[in-house]
C-alpha cells in the first residue's frame, strides 16, 4: 500500500516536471528571432502568402493562446506539423526515436560490460598495480566528456586504423528489408546477420564514445561499493567456508554492492541520452539528436518542441524506472 502511494507520488512529480519543461520550451522558442515562415517560402512570395502561412501554423495568435492550442493538441496526441518537412511532428520524432534508443541502449550495455569488468578486476586485484592503473583510467575517462572521446575514436579507428565506420547508421547502398526503425533489433530478429554486423559496426564508435564516461562512473562506484562490502562479516564468513576469492566477489559481494550503484547509474544514463545529441551530430548518425540540431538551425519550432518534450519524457521515465527497479530488487523494501 505504502509502495503504491510512493509510486503515485513519483508519477505526480514527474508530470509536474514535464509540464514545466513544456512551458519553458514553448516560451523560449517563441522568442527565436528570424521568421520561420519567410524561410519556407520561395523568394518571390508576397506579404499575403506570408500572412496566410502564419495563420495556418497559428503563429498570428498571442503566445499564451498558442500554448493552449498546442497543449490541447498534445493531450490528443497531436504535436503539430513540422514547418520544414510538413509532416506531423509525432510521426517524424517517432521515426527517429528507435535509432537513438538503440544507440543509447547499446552504449549502456557497453558501459556496463566495461565498467563492471573494471570494477570486478580492480576488486579482485586490490592493492596491485592493475588496480592503480584502473583508477587512473577511470579518472581520465571521467575528466573528458563523450564529445572529445568521440573525436578521439574518429581519429583512432576512422583514420589511423580504419576498422570501424565513423559516419551514418548503415552503409547506404545496402537494401533494407525492415518494417520498423529498430534496425539493429530487427536485423537480429530476421536473422540477417550480415546487416546486423554492418549496423553494429556503424553504431559501435558513437556508442563507445557515449559509454566511456559512464563506464568509468560504473567502475568507480561499483568498485567503491564492492570494497566496502568486502569488509563485511558475511563475506569473510563465505571465505572461511572454502569459496574462492572470485566466487566471494561475484556471489556474495556483488549482489549487495550493485544496489547502491544502480540509482546513480540511472541518473547517469539520462546524461548519456542527453549526450546523444552531439554524438549523433559528430558521427552523422540519423537519430533524434541530429534531427534536433537541424530543427534548431532551420527554426522548425513545432519539431524542436516535440523533440525536447520527448527527451524530457525519456529522462523522467528512466528515473522513474530506476526508482521502481531499486524498490523491486531490494528485499528490505520489498518485504517492508
Amino acid at each position: 500500500m505504502q509502495f503504491l502511494q510512493s509510486v503515485l507520488l513519483r508519477l505526480c512529480t514527474t508530470l509536474i516536471t514535464l509540464a514545466g519543461v513544456a512551458v519553458i520550451v514553448f516560451f523560449v522558442i517563441r522568442v527565436v528571432p528570424g521568421n520561420p515562415i519567410a524561410m519556407m517560402l520561395p523568394p518571390g512570395a508576397t506579404e499575403a502568402d506570408v500572412a496566410r502561412l502564419t495563420a495556418l501554423y497559428g503563429l498570428d495568435k498571442s503566445i499564451p493562446q498558442q500554448f493552449l492550442i498546442w497543449l490541447s493538441g498534445v493531450v490528443q496526441g497531436d504535436f503539430g506539423t513540422s514547418i520544414t518537412t510538413k509532416q506531423p511532428v509525432l510521426q517524424l520524432v517517432l521515426s527517429r526515436l528507435p535509432a537513438t534508443l538503440e544507440l543509447s541502449v547499446m552504449a549502456l550495455i557497453i558501459a556496463i560490460i566495461i565498467g563492471g569488468f573494471m570494477a570486478l578486476t580492480g576488486t579482485r586485484l586490490r592493492g596491485s598495480k592493475t588496480e592503480a592503473a584502473i583508477d587512473i583510467g577511470n579518472g581520465m575517462a571521467l575528466s573528458v566528456p563523450d564529445f572529445l572521446w568521440g573525436l578521439i575514436l574518429i581519429l583512432a579507428f576512422g583514420v589511423l586504423i580504419p576498422i570501424f565506420h565513423i559516419s551514418g547508421r548503415v552503409t547506404p547502398s545496402l537494401p533494407l528489408p525492415f518494417s520498423t526503425n529498430f534496425y539493429l533489433t530487427e536485423s537480429l530478429l530476421r536473422l540477417r546477420f550480415d546487416l546486423w554486423l554492418d549496423i553494429a559496426a556503424h553504431m559501435f564508435m558513437p556508442a563507445l564514445a557515449l559509454a566511456i564516461p559512464l563506464a568509468a562512473i560504473i567502475s568507480q562506484l561499483l568498485k567503491q561499493s564492492l570494497k566496502e562490502t568486502m569488509h563485511l562479516d558475511y563475506v569473510t564468513l563465505a571465505r572461511t567456508k572454502g569459496y574462492s576469492e572470485t566466487h566471494v566477489i561475484l556471489r556474495e559481494a556483488l549482489p549487495n554492492a550493485i544496489l547502491p550503484t544502480l540509482t546513480l547509474v540511472g541518473v547517469q544514463f539520462t546524461f548519456l541520452i542527453g549526450g546523444t545529441v552531439i554524438i549523433e551530430r559528430l558521427f552523422s548518425y540519423e537519430g533524434l539528436g541530429n534531427m534536433a540540431i537541424d530543427a534548431v538551425i532551420n527554426r522548425d519550432l513545432p519539431l524542436i518542441q516535440g523533440i525536447v518534450i520527448l527527451f524530457a519524457v525519456i529522462f523522467t521515465g528512466v528515473n522513474l524506472l530506476v526508482d521502481l527497479t531499486y524498490a523491486a530488487l531490494n528485499p528490505r523494501l520489498r518485504h517492508a
Partner: protein, 289 residues
C-alpha cells in the same frame, strides 16, 4: 597430539616494522576449548584470521607454521588451503547483524558450504540445516530457512550462525567474540548454547574474547596475549588460582567476578603495562639475534 598447533607465528603490517603477532605459539587439542584473551589490539582476532586465511591484505605473515590436523596450512597452495579450511574449520563471527548476507535467504546460507564445497546433495544439506536449526532451538526452522536476515532478531541470527558453523561437523571452530555485539540478556543464552553444542559435537573451540568471565565459564585452557605476544599459557584452574604473569594477575584483578560482582576492581596499572611492554621488546631483541 594437538589438532591445531601454531608455532612461532609472526605477522606485521606490510612494509612496516611493527609486529602484529610475535612468535605466537599455541595448541588446541581435539575437543578442547581454549580461550584467547587480550585487550583490544593485542592481536587475538588476527590469530583467528591467520588460521582461517582471512587476514586483511595489509597484513603479511613473516614466519611460523599453522599446523591443522598434521598439515601446515601456510605451506599449502591457496586453493587447497581454502577447501581444507572449509571442510575442517568454521567461524562463529562477532556481529550477527553483518554476518549474514542481506540479499539471500537463510537456508542457502547454511547449506551452501555443504553443497558447493563438500558436494552434498541439496536434499541432504537441507535436512541437515533443519535439524541444526532445531538443535539451536529455533522455532519453525522451515519458515526461518525461507526468511531474509533482516526479518530475524539479533539473537536468532547468532543462533543461525552457530548452527551454520556446526553444519559440516568441523573439527575446529573459531569463535571471534561471539557475544560482544549482543544484548546482555541474550549473551548468556548464546554462551550456554555454544558450550552445549561444543560438548555435544566434541568440536575443538578457539574462543577469542576480552572477557575473562566468559573464559572461566566456557574454556578449559587459555592463552593471554599482549601486543601480539603470548604472555601466559595455562589451564583455567591454574590461571584463576595462580596466574603466572604479572599482567595476567593485573588483568584478573581488573575483571568483575561472578561470585562477587560488587567486589572492588583495580585497573591494570601503568607500571605493569610498562614492565610487560619492556619484556615483549626484550623478547623481540633476543629473537632477532
Amino acid at each position: 597430539m594437538s589438532y591445531l598447533s601454531i608455532r612461532n607465528l609472526s605477522a606485521r603490517l606490510k612494509g612496516r616494522p611493527d609486529q602484529i603477532l610475535r612468535r605466537v605459539s599455541l595448541e588446541v587439542a581435539a575437543g578442547e576449548v581454549r580461550g584467547l584473551v587480550g585487550e583490544s589490539g593485542a592481536g587475538k582476532s588476527m590469530i583467528g584470521k591467520a588460521i582461517l586465511g582471512t587476514l586483511p591484505q595489509s597484513v603479511e605473515i613473516t614466519g611460523g607454521q599453522i599446523i591443522l590436523d598434521g598439515t601446515d596450512l601456510l605451506a599449502l597452495p591457496a586453493a587447497q588451503r581454502r577447501t581444507l579450511i572449509g571442510a575442517k574449520c568454521a567461524l562463529i563471527p562477532q556481529d550477527p547483524l553483518t554476518a549474514l548476507n542481506p540479499s539471500r535467504r537463510i537456508g542457502p546460507q547454511i547449506t551452501n558450504r555443504l553443497v558447493d564445497i563438500l558436494h552434498w546433495s541439496r536434499a541432504d544439506a537441507e535436512k541437515r540445516a533443519r535439524d541444526l536449526l532445531a538443535e539451536v532451538q529455533i522455532p519453525d526452522p522451515e519458515r526461518v530457512m525461507r526468511s531474509y536476515p533482516h526479518e530475524l532478531s539479533g539473537g536468532m541470527r547468532q543462533r543461525i550462525l552457530i548452527a551454520s558453523a556446526f553444519a559440516a561437523e568441523p573439527k575446529l571452530i573459531i569463535a571471534d567474540e561471539p557475544t560482544t555485539a549482543l544484548d546482555v540478556t541474550v549473551q548468556k543464552q548464546i554462551l550456554k548454547l555454544i558450550a552445549a553444542m561444543q560438548a555435544r559435537h566434541g568440536t575443538a573451540l578457539l574462543f577469542v574474547t576480552h572477557d575473562l568471565g566468559v573464559v572461566s565459564k566456557v574454556c578449559q585452557s587459555l592463552s593471554v596475549l599482549y601486543a601480539g605476544y603470548v604472555l601466559e599459557d595455562s589451564t583455567i584452574p591454574e590461571f584463576f588460582h595462580a596466574p603466572k604473569h604479572p599482567y595476567s594477575r593485573a588483568l584478573l584483578a581488573a575483571t568483575p567476578k561472578y561470585t562477587d560482582p560488587d567486589g572492588s576492581l583495580t585497573p591494570v596499572s601503568d607500571a605493569v603495562i610498562a614492565a610487560t611492554r619492556a619484556e615483549v621488546e626484550a623478547a623481540d631483541r633476543s629473537a632477532h639475534v
